[in-house]
């Protein structure tokens, strides 16, 4: 029998899955190691596969530079060779063609991790500190600026921590909803911006004027738990609820069909 207590990772995957729609084209990065891999790749892939099996059979995944990867047989250890051999629908000769898809607005959802996320959904994956002598040099920009500019409903997936959830990011790698004075509209964006922030403690969305708003708390998490893990006070939804508990059949699908080796939700 399946243990019907969901893990935090499963709750996160299920919350994301509910936000995915049939016909969505969702972009998943190639990720990095450990927890960062689970957040950037593992949870999103489980969520997308769950949506395909449940309510979004036509949903498409673009993973790294591979469209519609075969997710029926995920290798337990993702070496380069396992990735090279991955089957899928399309892997263009140069990744510039994927970049064009992104810029043309052909992705509906993307998944974002960041070292810093601020109250307006701006993201930083570039540096902490000053440009000349940063306190911490991070990875760069990758395509995250494009995600927040051109993807319709980007989803931020990260663990709640007051080091990450800061008043103002040190470097705006990716523009969410600005700082109150600069809106997406004033900059010429016709839509987009982060749609959800899915964390290990609860799920947020954004108010009409672009402030982060707590929508649901995971089972057993208090509002105070959340507030103590954020450097800014988020808006609180009037109908703040508990994050939906997945059905036993959903958990079974995750554990037995989607991620039997535990490669995706490993940490």
């Amino acid at each position: 029998m399946t243990d019907i207590t969901p893990t935090q990772n499963e709750l996160m995957a299920v919350a994301i899955s509910a936000a995915l729609r049939d016909d969505d084209v969702v972009f998943v990065g190639v990720g990095t190691s450990g927890r960062a891999f689970t957040l950037a790749v593992g949870i999103p892939l489980v969520a997308a596969r769950l949506a395909q099996l449940d309510h979004a059979p036509g949903l498409d995944i673009y993973w790294g530079n591979l469209l519609s990867p075969d997710l029926t047989d995920v290798p337990a250890h993702l070496t380069q060779d396992a990735i090279t051999r991955w089957r899928g629908a399309y892997a263009p000769a140069d990744v510039g063609q994927k970049v064009d898809m992104l810029v043309r607005g052909e992705f509906d959802v993307s998944f974002e991790s960041a070292a810093q996320v601020d109250q307006h959904g701006n993201l930083n994956i570039t540096r902490i500190g000053t440009p000349e002598r940063p306190k911490v040099r991070l990875v760069g920009c990758l395509a995250q600026p494009e995600h927040l500019a051109f993807v319709r409903r980007p989803i931020i997936v990260t663990d709640l921590s007051s080091r990450v959830f800061v008043d103002h990011v040190d470097h705006i790698t990716s523009f969410g909803y600005g700082n109150g004075t600069r809106s997406r509209e004033s900059l010429g964006y016709s839509g987009g911006g982060p749609s959800l922030v899915v964390t290990d403690h609860g799920v947020f969305d954004f108010t009409a004027d672009g402030r982060m708003r707590l929508r649901s708390l995971h089972s057993g998490v208090t509002l105070e738990d959340v507030r103590s893990r954020m450097s800014f006070g988020p808006e609180i939804a009037e109908d703040l609820s508990e994050t939906s508990t997945p059905a036993a059949s959903t958990l079974r699908a995750i554990r037995e069909e989607i991620d039997p080796s535990g490669a995706l939700l490993r940490t």
């Binding site: 060779d81 990735i83 510039g96 992104l102 570039t126 920009c141 964006y189």
Partner: protein
């Protein structure tokens, strides 16, 4: 067609102090490490690097003190986290950094490949990148839309590591590979191109399927045979990354001093790529081998 086959050290001697050098590959894949190790042996200084998602090549050159500036979309060690030597050099203010996003960086190389001094890009407003002076603007002469722009990327020299090529410098990829890189665009954008290859193959083999050539010999200044030329990173369809050696690299990167010692042992004390490989050992290299699925 002319013979372009050169030794790694002869080819690397084309790189001078202060050059702008474009480096190919992406993440841990096809980093031009055999060529970069030659640059370390030659003690080249003050390079400005242009990269896509770079890892070992940039970290090696940063750790060896060869780099003055870097521009690209990423430097890190993928599975292994941050690029420790690059990161330390940046945090100490020794390397000037210009962070570009994928569409802006692609456009920098595409402009050069198209023979244009600049390209317009769909604006990404509100970020620090887009408010830097190298990002400018232009109006569309048809719609009046304001677009942002990037200048063409002009490298003095471009270093790529590739699968196979003939002695004339026709560089081919396998039918199925990990294509998450922009080596093709970097090659087209280059003005002086050095390509190291895992295998030199007969021209007749290239000629049978010319669609698999992604860089024509007319663009190539020198082609160098360098088996395991991306080691300890991977070359997809040839070998996987050496996780043990990557760990040793990261462990040795605690400080400038410890990395310099590691460099001396692994690069400095080896006269050339062949000696370097002998030191790693044939058995260990063979254990990394993977096959193609053509």
């Amino acid at each position: 067609m002319k013979r372009k086959l050169q030794s790694l050290s002869d080819a690397a001697s084309r790189v001078s102090d202060g050059d702008v050098v474009a480096l190919g590959g992406s993440l841990l894949r096809r980093q031009p490490l055999a060529l970069c190790r030659e640059l370390v042996r030659r003690n080249v200084r003050d390079l400005s690097l242009l990269t896509w998602a770079s890892s070992l090549a940039t970290d090696l050159l940063a750790g060896a003190g060869c780099v003055r500036a870097w521009e690209g979309i990423y430097v890190g060690m993928w599975w292994q986290g941050g690029a420790p030597n690059f990161r330390r050099a940046v945090e100490q203010g020794r390397i000037r950094v210009t962070d570009q996003s994928e569409s802006f960086m692609t456009a920098r190389f595409r402009a050069a490949a198209m023979g244009l001094p600049f390209l317009p890009v769909v604006p990404i407003r509100g970020t620090e990148m887009s408010e830097r002076d190298d990002i400018r603007s232009v109006s569309c002469p048809y719609t009046g839309t304001e677009l942002q722009t990037v200048a063409a990327a002009h490298a003095d020299i471009t270093l790529l590591h590739a699968y196979a090529g003939d002695e004339y410098g026709n560089i081919v990829w396998p039918v199925h590979r990990d294509s998450d890189d922009i080596d093709l665009i970097m090659g087209a954008a280059s003005t002086q191109l050095i390509v190291s290859v895992e295998r030199v193959i007969p021209h007749a083999e290239v000629a049978r399927r010319p669609n698999l050539t992604y860089i024509p010999h007319t663009k190539v200044a020198a082609v160098c045979e360098a088996p395991y030329g991306a080691y300890p990173g991977s070359c997809d369809t040839f070998y996987d990354e050496d996780e043990t050696e990557l760990q040793a690299w990261v462990d040795a990167s605690r400080s400038d001093e410890t990395f310099v010692t590691y460099l001396k042992e692994t690069v400095g004390d080896t006269q050339d790529h062949e000696t370097f490989l002998r030191q790693i050992g044939a058995k260990r290299l063979a254990s990394l081998k993977v096959g193609s699925n053509d």
